[in-house]
Amino acid sequence: MAVTILAVDDSASMRQMVSFTLKHAGYTVVEATDGVEALEYARSNAVNLVLTDVNMPRMDGITLVRELRQLDPYKFVPMLVLTTEAGQDKKMQGKQAGATGWLVKPFNPEKLLATIAKVL
């Protein structure tokens, strides 16, 4: 049974890097370019983990997490936020929205895989 990860980032290069790293590690990856697309997908599909960037147009990552948590299948899906900031404010915001944890950018592929392994 494949482990599916939903990767959300408006930057194609970041998305591709994350996708490439995860696929090589054996995960199945679904990509979305922003929160709206991700939410659309999530309404009719379930995944094992959500990885999302914070700063995106239309719907940012924190809002996406908050919205996803309202969907029944997503109540207990781990969600990680990719952020360049690790300030307390952002951490709180993320937590309040329902994020499981975060990864601070820039990160390398090893860190990404190790972090994901922790929550899956």
């Binding site: 408006d10 591709q16 995106m56 109540k75 709180m92 390398n108």
Partner: protein, 702 residues
Amino acid sequence: MTLDLEMEEIIKVFFEESFEGLDAMESGLLTLDATADRETINTIFRAAHSIKGGAGTFGFMEIAEFTHSVETLLDEMRNGQRAVSADAVQVLLQSVDVIREMTQSAQAKQPIVTVGADALSGELARILAQKGPIAAAPAAAGTAAAPPPVVAAGTAPPKPVPQAPINVALDSISGWRIEFVPDPTLFKTCNDPLRIFAELAGLGRLEVTAHVEQLPLLQALDPSHCYLSWSLVLHAAVEHSRIIEVFDWVETVSKISYEPVYVGPKPGESSAAGAGAVPVAPARPAPLAESAAAPVVTPAKAGSDAGSIRVATEKVDALINLVGELVITQSMLGRFAEKYDPEDLESLRRGLIQLARNTRELQESVMQIRMLPIGFSFNRFPRLVHDLSRKLGKKVELKLCGENTELDKTVLEKIGDPLVHLVRNALDHGMELPEKRLAAGKSETGTLELNAFHEGGSIIIEVKDDGAGLNKARILGKARERGLIEPDAQLTDDQIYNLIFVAGFSTADQVSDLSGRGVGMDVVRRNINDLGGTVQIFSSEGVGSTIRIRLPLTLAILEGQVLRVGKEIYVASLVSIIETVQPTREHLSSVAGRSELFKHRDSYLPIIRLHDLFDIEPDSRDISKGLLVVVESDGRRVSVLVDELLAQQQVVIKSLETNFKHVPGLAGATIHGDGTVALILDIPGLISNFLERQSGRIELAA
């Protein structure tokens, strides 16, 4: 794909994205003023943020660091902590340039020069240090991108202070005692204490004691609530920060206390002495390896990639459909070829007509793929006009029209520089200073318009300004001064304006470094001619000028007039032919044996004997026995003597220069229906060379 190759591809995408982001930042910044809407500032911020993130991820640290300062300034603006000031916008625009340069270097695998970045960092720091005026509430446009911090329902948790690491000598402790009391809502964020404990256990022996006092009776139990808390003892002499890290994700929704477990003299339990301190440095993401310095290579212009074109999907779909139809037509014909039957001849004929149509449409479609909107060329002008008008102290509003007008990719690429020169010229020489404009009863802000539209088989591009117009007297004066015309020559307005295109001509009193050097306009015209186009000037003193460029839509196909001189066949571009006449003796005359003239309507046109020029044996040297083709280029008309006009047809232009070389008077070659080569005449070139040679100076049709 190997790991490296795939990464290379991804990094290429990063570069592409970054350049696009920089362009977006630039356009956004150009529209920014005090009342700029929040969405624009957010877009600019996000672009910078993405570039910073990507640069850091892919190892371009200089770019990441510099962009960080830019981002900080933008962040303050989008939060309303700082008002948008023209000063700040200017520095930000310059920052965009610097980031672009650094990215180009990175793309070319050259070392990134930080001189510009360092200088601007100073500027940015200066601005950031000044307490900027707090922005008035920016106009909210549609949905605001940055959400306000969410206030949790119920009691808002007090803002937690991050745990400061306790400093201990690692050889003085044997471990840590940890009290972990999570919020009941812990599970809502899918944080599993078991995972945390597992990670801790990876550092050393872990004792876990759960406190179940808060557990309600089964009926009242909400499985999504966390009722438990724990006391932990970790037998590992590690840095406090290492342990804090493990609790990173849950610390804002828990109460955690840490206590080192001391060995020896310090009071407190001590289990088996921990092993020798194993300093575990908190993992830090290793920066990706910098790409090795490669031999110096000029970085390619951002975004320019001669090898590939982005094509709209609909265009490709249309193409695929046409190919499908072509295949069907072909097979239909093929069937007939197999068994010939006289009755089928009619069907065969129809089939061939169909094939011809399919091929033509396919060809048009393929040419369409190479068409790109001229907006790609126009998009550099807002920035250019902004910077240039600032530099010159002039107020100019730029209007762009017809950005969607399409033209061939190659034509698009080559028209860029000439347009830039014309715009610079218009701003530098055409546009007056604000005071002068007011004094002349004009609005202080001048208008520069770039207009593009299709007309016939061409694309017309206009550069229009409402400036001072061309000063005929000054142009005439300079032309006389430089001996470019006879002192007493009578010139039409048109002819006067065209003087500015002559090499070495410039009426600028001081050669400004922008466009007054006089090497510009002749190159502009030559470049336009090389593209098979023409350029005209319309001007009115005090009112303004319009430069009108006409370009063929594609470079590769020409609507041609096939003509014959003696045994040789040539093709002339239909666009340059005005008409063809059979001359009678009365209309012919010659001037002092120097030039032969043909009286055409109200003017005398010089006659070019093509047979002479190309050393061909003509049918007859008697002009009245031949045909005169009246051609025009850049306002100059001449007549060309030929023996016969043949068909008018579309021809595919093939290069003479690839295997051979450029030949004066020829624009290329084409393959005739019978497989032989026909040469294509370069009408503008023929006219220029002929006229300049005739008199050694600029000859103008009287």
